[in-house]
């Protein structure tokens, strides 16, 4: 029996023992087809999913390689049924191909006729295809390319999209590597994307996803539409592109609530694109405004449903999705796969941290004990009010103050969910507050001041969850959050992961009211990070208040 580092479970999870000498090689071998599910300290869990296996097929791996790798690294015999299942699943990808027919345009071509017969009998496929050209080929309405891929994925016969992409309107873009250079993983990510044509790059917060986007734009050298979460993020993209590429201010347009510019490179917010008036999307024209050669989706795990629908119509254009996590709280990972594309690059957070590209972080859960009086109020509250009550417990204020005092030399972000709680905190800490109601100009000013170090403490609402670049922030204190959102927790940690000039360790405090719903939600929120290898320490609020814990 070999003493391999991998244990293959019958439920299709793979357990990788991290301390095993062969672990790095094994990790590299299984990464293309297995999804990293958890990466705690000793044993990492990967999972074989149909999507993962199809991702691997899309990247050119075949079942034989996968089976061989599993057998080579496995410590125990691999269940026979699992190997058969892997081969079967992988064989399902690409039996149907979307190709460009010289005379009939877009067609669905079958390498296996019975499969074609099966899917054509589905009521969902019928309206998406045209006439049957011959035994193996059926015409596809070009506008339904995306929908067809979605439906075929649901039917379990994912189509390989070989129909190619339009080049779009050429526009020269190049990286300006002056005083900085593309990091190796950024280059690999951009290359992986480019060779795949379309797809998603998964990198931790702070690992420079914007630069991967810029590198992809340089490869495309074409007009680009960038979709981002909000206006602040849009400005940051613009600044970053101006700094890193040959693009000038005139070439970059902002398409948001306040401005509607369409330039060779246009940055639009999800909100404006998905605005609806009288049942129609007035800004849909944006997608047709130019002959875009590349569309970049920032934070693809947040992509709102209407954008999926719009994206379905854009299948002829190259699409790049950027995200820190493929976890979607709504479970639409399959839509990301079929509409944006397969995962093209993935790196565990801890790997990037080990390379020094993101700051090491220390996550601390501070357990606050509610005083008797508050516990009584909580216990008798209506169920819908309970979470708000415990999350915004007044007891947390004192702890925040104590923490801010302790980190008076650091730049501290206080992040919360409830505005009245944040208002009070801002007043007690004498710090400025940024919420959704703060004007963009004001936000910009405050963020700039914080970046320059004129300001030590900033209280922010969930508007700062994403895409706010605050390099020197090294401490985040989360006083409340949006229930059990795993990705919110990850994003908030991401705010402080930019490498610090002095190599300091970032600190992430999550304040949790003991024995309440807050604690249950916190456990759920922490799961993603715990699975990525961020071990939470737990300290009592009393220790913080005493100053006994560091």
């Amino acid at each position: 029996m070999s003493e391999g580092p991998l244990i293959v479970q019958s439920d299709k999870t793979l357990l990788l023992e991290v301390d095993h000498p062969d672990a790095p090689a094994c990790r590299q071998a299984i990464a293309p087809f297995a999804e990293l599910e958890r990466a705690p300290e000793h044993v990492h869990t990967y999972r074989l999913t149909p999507l993962g296996l199809w991702n691997a097929r899309a990247a050119g791996h075949d079942a034989e390689q996968v089976v061989d790798i599993l057998l080579r690294y496995s410590r125990y015999p691999v269940p026979h049924a699992l190997l058969v299942d892997v081969a079967d699943t992988m064989a399902r990808f690409g039996r149907l191909q979307l190709v460009n027919h010289p005379s009939h345009g877009l067609v669905l071509h079958a390498l296996d006729v019975p499969v074609l017969e099966e899917v054509l009998r589905s009521a969902k496929v019928a309206p998406l295809v045209g006439q049957r050209l011959d035994g193996e080929t059926v015409q596809v309405h070009p506008s339904e390319r995306g929908h067809l891929k979605q439906v075929l994925l649901k039917l379990g016969w994912p189509a390989e999209d070989l129909a190619g992409y339009v080049d779009g309107e050429a526009h020269p873009i190049a990286l300006r590597e002056e005083g900085w250079a593309l990091r190796s993983y950024q280059r690999e990510a951009a290359d992986g994307f480019w060779h795949g044509g379309s797809g998603v790059v998964v990198l931790p917060c702070g690992a420079g996803k914007t630069i991967v986007g810029a590198a992809a734009m340089a490869r495309a050298a074409a007009t680009t539409l960038i979709l981002v979460t909000n206006t602040v993020a849009a400005r940051q993209w613009r600044d970053e592109l101006l700094r890193r590429t040959t693009l000038s201010e005139n070439e970059i347009g902002e398409y948001s609530g306040s401005r509607k510019e369409i330039r060779p490179v246009t940055i639009a917010t999800y909100q404006v694109v998905t605005t609806r008036r009288k049942g129609v999307y007035p800004h849909l024209e944006l997608f047709d405004a130019r002959d875009w050669g590349l569309i970049v989706y920032d934070e693809v795990h947040l992509l709102p449903a209407p954008i999926f629908r719009m994206t379905a119509d854009l299948q002829a254009r190259r699409r790049l999705g950027l995200t820190a996590t493929l976890v979607r709280e709504d479970g639409r990972e399959g839509d990301v796969f079929s509409l944006i594309g397969p995962k093209r690059y993935d790196a565990p957070w801890k790997d990037i941290e080990a390379q020094g590209w993101i700051a090491p972080a220390d996550c601390v859960e501070v357990r606050v004990t509610l005083p008797e009086r508050d516990r009584l109020v909580y216990a008798t509250a209506e169920p819908e009010d309970r979470y708000r009550l415990c999350a915004s417990a007044p007891e947390k204020m004192r702890v925040v103050e104590a923490l801010v005092t302790r980190h008076r030399r650091d730049q501290v972000l206080v992040i919360g969910q409830y505005l009245d709680q944040l208002d009070e905190l801002a007043a007690r800490l004498d710090a400025p507050l940024i919420t959704g109601a703060t004007t963009v100009r004001e936000r910009q000013r405050l963020f700039d001041a914080f970046r320059d170090g004129q300001m030590q403490v900033l209280v922010v609402s969930k508007v700062a969850n994403f895409s706010i670049d605050l390099p020197e922030a090294s401490v985040a204190i989360q006083v409340s959050g949006a229930f059990g959102s795993r990705q919110e927790e990850a994003q908030r940690l991401g705010r402080i992961l930019r490498p610090k000039t002095d190599g300091r360790t970032a600190r992430f405090y999550a304040l949790v009211a003991r024995d309440t719903l807050d604690q249950d939600y916190a456990a759920h929120r922490q799961r993603f990070l715990a699975e990525q290898g961020y071990a939470y320490r737990i300290v009592d609020a009393d220790e913080v208040l005493d100053g006994s814990s560091s």
């Binding site: 439920d11 705690p40 300290e41 125990y76 003991r514 024995d515 939470y536």
Partner: protein
Amino acid sequence: MPPPGAVPGHAPPRSLAAALRTWSEEALTDLLQERPDLAVPLPHDLAALAHRATLRPSVHLAVDSLDLPTLQVLEVLVALSESSGPVSLDQVGAAWGGDARPAVDRLRALALAWGTDDQLTPVRRAGECLGPHPAGLGPPSGLDAATIRDLLTHAPDAARAVLDKLAWDGPLGQVTHADRRPDPDSTAPLDWLLARGLLTATGADEVVLPREVALVLRAGRTHRDPALTPPTPAPRPAPQADTHAAGAAAEAVRLVAALAQLWEATPPAVLRSGGLGVRELRRTALALEVDEAVAARVIELAHAAGLIADDGELDPHWAPTPDVDAWLAHDVPQRWVELATAYLASPRCPHLVGTRTDKGVRNALGNDLAWTAAPTVRAWLLHTVAALRTDSTPRGIARDEIVGLFVWTAPRRATPVRRALLEAAVAEAIWLGLLGTEIPDVIAVPSFTLPLIGATEDGERQAADLLGRALPAPVDHILLQADLTAIAPGPLDRHVARELDLIADVESRGGATVLRFTPTSIRRGLDAGRTGDDILAWLEQHSRTPVPQPLAYLIGDSARRHGRVRVGTAASFVRSDDETALSELLADRRADGLQLRRLAPTVLAAQAPPAAVLEVLRSLGLAPAAEAVDGSVVVTAPPVHRTGPRRRPVRAAARPPAPSRAALRSAAAALRLTELAAHDGSRQGTTDVPPSPPGLPPTPADVATVLIQLSQAVARRSPVWVAYVDAQGRVGQRLVEPIEVAAGRLQAFDRSTARILTVPIARVTRVTPLPSGQFSGNSPGVSPENRPLDGPD
């Protein structure tokens, strides 16, 4: 080579019995071993043995076991000897097209043929087994080969074409008017052939090609493709077969254990037809996380091993048997051996579950899954694959070659359904770990299956030992991680597994086990009597990694919260603002009977009902007040005895409604008619009134009383009236003299019929002894015939 055991120099035997007499003891032993049906019961002499060996069922069994070349040679032997008597080995070889000696020797050793090499004779029944057309040859006609050849040279082309068609694909041909009177001068092919005897009519529309003609047309050969070279599957190395099979074995054992665990909590109902419902199968498959085919295997396997059974209740369910506990107490290899031996001997075919019969779908555990051929096919499979294994290295065979081998080995057994059975046996054996696999598609017998299929004495123990060695060594430690999971990097030691199952939930199983700690799982441990410190200490002891802080917190928090709210039982409570009074009460011995316990300074709980507590407190000189549910004081009056709430008797209406005139008239008419009838009846009435039996109370006496009364009557030989329920359910009464009460039955002499009456005691409802002097012994000429019991009025 002489026939087995033949003594050289002997005269050629003239019968099978004579041949057997020349056999050596060794050869006879071999025969009895190869054809075990001949040995039971042991024939008393060789003539009897010879007789039995030529009986049709026995010959059938022996012929079915022949491999392809031997079967072909038997066909040759039968075909040639039917037309010309005993044949020589050379003739057989020439006709078959190969060296027939091995096959002929085998046939003689099996007593399916006898005689020397010059005079071989098949046993008569062998021909019958092969059917009317051995090797596709028609009946003998007596034509000699030279004549046939001569005729053939003059045959018209069309006639020749007919013959050529029938030569190999015959011997029967469909024609119209086969029974015509052929015109010898006609050149129409059929007439020409029929007239010369080259074809024979067998019916109105059927002709047959005579054996001799076919042989000439086939150039003296009987078989177009004599099975000369056996399919020799290349043995393929299967170094991983043992580990793969061991993995499968462990998984199968786990699934059966999981099934027992599932069904002990929620036993599924037994269908009226005896099986397990389709929906229940699906539910089980879902719970076991396997597909339905595998679930059917697990269920049938557990049933074959006697681990689950119909509980036999009025509303029957499938439930684990008591044997499960013994089975679970064994280690995995021993458990597997029990399952594997049960499977090998079981005639049940799980692969048939879900297939249809004319009566409907076959259900798991249903009555229509048994097939006697199954154990034979499984044994053949394992033996065949095992034969490829050399001593040290596991070697196997490509999975798709096994069917070809099956056909060669026993062509008469390889019917399409049996081939399906074989394929199912392969799949089941791989699943159960009786066969190991090797990528790409090689099957091989693992080391630990060998002792089970061999004739080794303590094969089961050896198998368990070998499996124990092939299984990964059990680990007794876990790895704890900060995301509140524990990983057992191998099969867990039983004791560790049991404790872990208590305090954590399994997330993933396989070579390793992943468990997750949750507040609920920790609480389960606390409920089972562990303390938070116990759990922590146990984890520290069994974890290779330090206990992560979040886990320690989880356990600490859960332990802190555990039992914070407490629930107990009390029949009443005593409360008072005067704490001292309560303390006094607690200290007073006279209140011991109330089992008072202090819950709070001002509250005591009592195990006695409020009335008793009030009484005792009053007797102690206190002045207690009773409290109602809402806390108000209940004022009690002196006790007055009352029944519980009762319904009032139904009252009759004051006066019945007056009937209508029409109703009264029809009532009157009815009365008149009855009167007329009674008048007629009185004229025909009998005067012969039988002595009436005693009036009986409506309720039957209990069995014990009946028994005592009957025993006494037997002892005294005194007649009694016996009331009983007859086979039709009618209640009757007879005057009898009891003779014997035995085996639950009463035997008695019934004077009225002068017969012995036998009645099960359970049917006797009452025994009434005759008042003394009423029964003279011979007087009551007439006895009531099944007189119905009198009503209670």
